[in-house]
Subunit: 473 residues, 2 copies
């Protein structure tokens, strides 16, 4: 029977070809394979247009973002080797801690309630002379990395000693760092004189040149601890390697008074005169900066880092952040070190505090709003570190440094404005998942790159040893 | 055979009597059975001597502490029906949130960045008129209770409408509350005129009289929203029932200016003149209080509540806390409501902020230290609420309101000073377990009295409805 030709086998054959033909005609292009897909979140990009997607996704290849957009678009185009389901959660760029001294985390809360000058000269410098070794620096950095990742910090700028060890530990923790070896005019725990500092720093800058996570930098401490020559040599070395220069600027009234007396110039004008200021400089604090200073900082494209907790705790003064922003200066946020000048590394507290401190200081609730302080913690912080092409927003081509924040806590609801919620209601602990350079370093509150059960007991052990060395126990 | 008398049965008989005799001779007194034993913690009592036990325990019978001391002593004497092992953790009295408006948690972050006067008159009062019902108040209170318990608050003082519903929900959540029905000279969401206010409040005060957790109170809003008659009637009613009087005092410069203009007196002097001030008054804010005002507040034994976040956020001004404490006034801490004036209910942030704000305002890092602000959150807060015989420290005879704080996070180590750690490094989320009146309301971060999975979605739903009512969405 002819009908045999259309028996079961033939029928299957026909159907197969029909479907294949239909598929060719209505072809869906194969999805592009990426390494990581973060999907379905309330996506706060902090890009140029400050675009927020109610349901947005991010695609990541290697350490770089390849696409950001509505989930429907991204999911149609990409498939991810690793997936993070961010539905019901907030996704945004990681926070940038623009000024700290991470190994000092082992001095957390050492001698609170003293002035900065006393604190430095009577307590911190002696405590450092007695306790700071390369081992101290390594454990302090690990501890600080754990605390920072837990609260959503993906990049930090550091100034300390044995900075090469800080860099190794930072890289091991999977964090991004702008890490400056400190130059100071007295024998430091690592280098005892300028010759040693120069040799150490030269090797340090060479070693990390081109690293994907670590930006090695030079950190002349301040005008009150470094001679003009030290400042100039440090800056010269940094510029030879196109490295950042990290420095404390105009943090204390005494610093300003002494500079006026000794140099006839404000700290900013003095630094400008001796050739330090330029587009690779990151200036921490900038409290005592007048209108002329702000113009100079803007002209020289210096990035500034505001540290509200530290400035309040040490009663240093209040940086004129709204005026600095108005002058076009990029102003980021920092926690400072946690040794009696904060005492934590939680940048979300600095976001909250920066807004509140500006409002009360100006007696104007409009002085600095929620959106502005979230900018300072992300894209403006990146700009202040001169890394705005690399980090600070979620955009194609930038490094995949992002955080996922839970919105199910009682403190997270209701939400009328996402920036207000970030600035004033959400907490460091609401950060659930952290990705740095495409690598998941914390997932659902679990640290993946640091052994907390080793670091925490070791920190306690160091605490006992340090207290004993200072006769506190 | 005689030996039969010493057969197996007889031998057992002899052994039994020998052991019984030995037990009598070496008698260990039977341990006293208590309902709850919290053992082995770093115990910060906040008692008169500010005693801290490195290894301390607390025994609780019913809702009351029956013993506090070294673990060896307490464990030898007591056995607990319920046990909380606090080894490696910090145990202390629960925090006292001395001023808030808990139902307003549903307005969290509504209209930030405006002045207090504008915020109240243009946004909050209209939002309340459109949205505040008894149901709103119930859900807002539940949400606030969850957030407060999570961050270690065990007692709060509230001023709002439908306060009887606040009281019912507070009791259901197992929290302690000083809860004031608000009197105000315009139609409130619950009572439209003074006759209604009086009737409602009278019933409210009678109903809760003698309750173990709820202290019903009367809350005339302020001198700028209540006539002299309203203030006096409210105070009279409170005094009839020996109930607390909660009121906003000298929060705004405008309030002070207007009072000087209209009454020729500062807000404090005006309130004193019309007979409001007395040892049952809890005055929130007290920003614009001069030397004479402070003397009056001390003489009248008024408790004051400092709200640093709110005062900074709304740029209201800075309360002279060190001067108030020096004048002998009991000063506690409050979060204020979270509707654009904080925006959370985390008292640990107020502890941190109170110290930092005093330091920067006085430009003196010694202005207010860590121990002082922890006192303000506990025993001084209790004194400001006139409840120091009941709560605020861990002492035999006081209510068993205590919290257990984890010390294993990276932010918790090292620890050189426990008060500094509490004030500046530990966070609300480090609170693991909360006991109020002997009842465990949170254990290991799990709330036992509130269904968060119901409250959080409901809060989101309310958020949408409120935003729509104000044309925000």
């Amino acid at each position: 029977m002819k009908s045999n030709l259309l028996g079961p086998g033939s029928l299957a054959f026909v159907i197969f070809f029909s479907v294949a033909a239909w598929s060719r005609e209505n072809s869906v292009p194969a999805k592009q394979r990426v390494d990581l897909l973060v999907t379905g979140g309330l996506l706060v990009t902090m890009d140029g247009g400050r675009v927020i997607y109610d349901d947005g996704s991010v695609a990541v290849k290697g350490d770089t973002i390849v696409a950001v957009g509505p989930s429907a678009t991204i999911n149609a185009k990409f498939t991810g080797l690793v997936k993070i389901d961010a539905r019901g959660k907030l996704v945004m760029p990681g926070f940038i801690n623009g000024h700290t001294h991470v190994p000092m985390t082992l001095f957390r809360g050492l001698h609170d309630d003293v002035t900065l000058d006393d604190w430095l000269r009577k307590y911190i410098f002696p405590a450092e002379a007695k306790n700071v070794t390369e081992d101290f620096v390594r454990w302090g950095t690990r501890l600080a990395a754990a605390e920072q990742i837990r609260s959503g910090v993906t990049t930090f700028a550091d100034m300390y000693y044995f900075e090469d060890a800080v860099a190794e530990e930072t890289k091991a923790a999977g964090m991004r760092g702008v890490l400056g070896e400190t130059w100071i005019d007295f024998p430091a725990p690592d280098n005892k004189n300028e010759t040693e500092m120069l040799r150490y720093t030269d090797t340090f800058l060479k070693k990390w040149n081109g690293d994907s996570l670590i930006h090695a930098a030079v950190a002349p401490h301040s005008i009150y601890t470094c001679s003009r020559k030290t400042l100039q040599d440090a800056a010269g070395l940094a510029r030879k390697y196109h490295a950042p220069i990290l420095i404390h600027v105009a943090e204390m009234k005494k610093e300003w008074d002494d500079s006026e007396k000794q140099n006839g110039l404000s700290p900013v004008q003095f630094l400008d005169k001796v050739g330090i200021l330029g587009p690779e400089v990151v200036a921490a604090h900038c409290i005592f900066v007048d209108d002329a200073d702000r113009k100079t900082l803007a002209q020289r494209q210096v990035g500034c880092m505001h540290n509200p907790s530290s400035n309040m705790m040490l009663a240093s003064g209040v940086s004129p952040v709204p005026e600095m922003r108005a002058a076009g200066i990029a102003v980021g946020l920092g926690t400072d070190g946690p040794a009696g000048s904060n005492n934590d590394l939680d940048l979300m507290e600095e976001i909250d505090l920066a807004a509140k401190l500006a409002k009360i200081t100006k007696m104007d609730p409009l002085a600095l709003n929620a959106k502005a302080v979230v900018e300072m913690a992300t894209i403006e912080g990146a700009r202040a570190l001169h890394l705005e092409k690399e980090i600070g927003s979620l955009e194609s081509g930038k490094k995949a440094d992002l955080i996922v924040i839970g919105l199910d806590g009682p403190n997270a609801v209701p939400m009328y404005d996402v920036y207000a919620q970030l600035a004033y209601a959400l907490k460091g602990n609401d950060v659930e998942t952290v990705v740095i350079g495409g690598r998941v370093v914390m997932r659902d509150h679990k640290l993946l790159t640091i052994k907390e059960d080793e670091v925490v007991p070791k920190a306690r052990e160091y605490g006992k040893r340090i207290a004993a060395s200072l006769g506190l126990q």
